[in-house]
């Protein structure tokens, strides 16, 4: 009789231990779910992407069902440990380069980044050169223009007051 009781209590203990183990495992699963990327994490990445279907709408803002699915996709990918760059690469591979907010720096796209500064600098250069020509031209009649400029080079304040007085006198 002692044997049966002993066996029974062992069985109960085993069951209890099993139950405890199951509980522990399930709570650890619950803890793992707390690591789900937040909406803010998702928006951080989505902000930099454009909706593949709508026109010129950033992915974090786009209200359509499809965009909601893409944001959930980003959430899953972040949860799997993908980096921002990897997620962007994934989107480009699947949906084309237009999902990026800037053209990728490859091939012909370098023109986007290089041409404006080149043109602006060229423009500034031409302007500067023309300016030099003008000032050189005026320097040929140096003496007389120097005398004239003398009277005009007074500090702006007195110049203004002088002219103001002159005009006011005329009108009085």
């Amino acid at each position: 009789m002692n044997n049966t009781f002993y066996k029974k209590s062992l069985r109960i203990t085993y069951l209890a231990l099993l139950l405890l183990a199951a509980l522990l495992v399930s709570t650890s699963i619950v803890f793992a779910q707390d690591d789900i990327p937040t909406d803010d994490d998702v928006n951080e990445v989505a902000k930099q992407l454009y909706c593949p279907v709508c026109e010129n709408t950033p992915l974090d803002v786009c209200p359509t069902e499809a965009c909601r699915q893409w944001r959930e996709l980003i959430r899953t990918q972040l949860g799997e440990g993908m980096t921002e760059q990897q997620i962007k690469d994934y989107f480009v591979a699947n949906y084309g380069a237009r999902v990026l907010s800037e053209p990728p720096r490859t091939g012909l796209n370098w023109l986007v980044y290089i041409l404006p500064p080149v043109i602006i600098l060229l423009g500034a250069f031409f302007l500067f050169r023309s300016f030099r020509e003008w000032t050189k031209a005026s320097a040929t009649a140096a003496t007389i223009s120097a005398e004239r400029s003398e009277s005009e080079s007074s500090p702006a304040k007195d110049d203004y007051v002088a002219r103001l007085e002159e005009e006011l006198k005329k009108r009085k």
């Binding site: 593949p52 893409w70 699947n94 949906y95 031209a137 040929t140």
Partner: protein, 188 residues
């Protein structure tokens, strides 16, 4: 009197040429793009260039996980563009599957589904929901849909055994008979 002021010069020749070249280039660029926009999708009679479509696992064709249009030389190809987020696509999903089933044994007709700008989990759920069995895969980078110049989903393109497009359906089919009657046009 005014010798030291810049002379009455015209615009130098190099500047004139640059300006006109730029203007003409701009107008030509915009004109060509305008032409493209006005083109619409590919039309019956156009030869379809070869393209490759990777397939979802479980939706392979004859064991192949990626197919090319040239693989189907000699067969009628029904290429359907769809997406899981597209409500009108759902109206024709069952009809497409039914039509496929009726031609599967024949072997002269291929149904292909190109998933347009979609996410895989949702796409699979859609395919499962309608019991689709014909080969389906994502249109990676929207290359295929750009080639066909689709303007939305669903659109279905019927290609004859010689690789020439012969019918375009914009929007969902209303019945299985509609699909079959179009396929029948190219089946001797």
């Amino acid at each position: 009197m005014t010798e030291n002021i810049p002379q009455k010069r015209g615009v130098p020749l190099w500047a004139q040429i640059s300006i006109w070249v730029f203007l003409v280039a701009l107008l030509v660029l915009v004109g060509i793009i305008l032409g493209k926009r006005q083109q619409g999708n590919v039309q019956p009679g156009d030869k379809i260039p070869d393209f490759s479509l990777p397939l979802f696992s479980g939706y392979e064709y004859a064991g192949k996980s990626e197919v090319k249009l040239s693989d189907f030389q000699g067969k009628v190809v029904v290429l359907n563009f769809w997406a899981s987020w597209c409500k009108p696509c759902e109206q024709e999903a069952a009809e497409l599957e039914e039509a496929w089933k009726s031609y599967e044994a024949d072997g002269r007709v291929v149904f292909l589904g190109a998933d347009y700008v979609d996410t895989e989990p949702e796409a699979r759920a859609y395919l499962k929901k309608f019991g689709i069995t014909f080969s389906n895969g994502p249109d990676m980078g929207t290359k295929i849909s750009q080639m066909f110049r689709i303007s939305g989903v669903p659109e279905t393109y019927f290609i004859d055994p010689n690789g020439v497009l012969y019918y375009v359906k914009i929007g969902p089919f209303v019945s299985v008979d509609e699909i079959k009657s179009i396929v029948a046009q190219k089946l001797p």
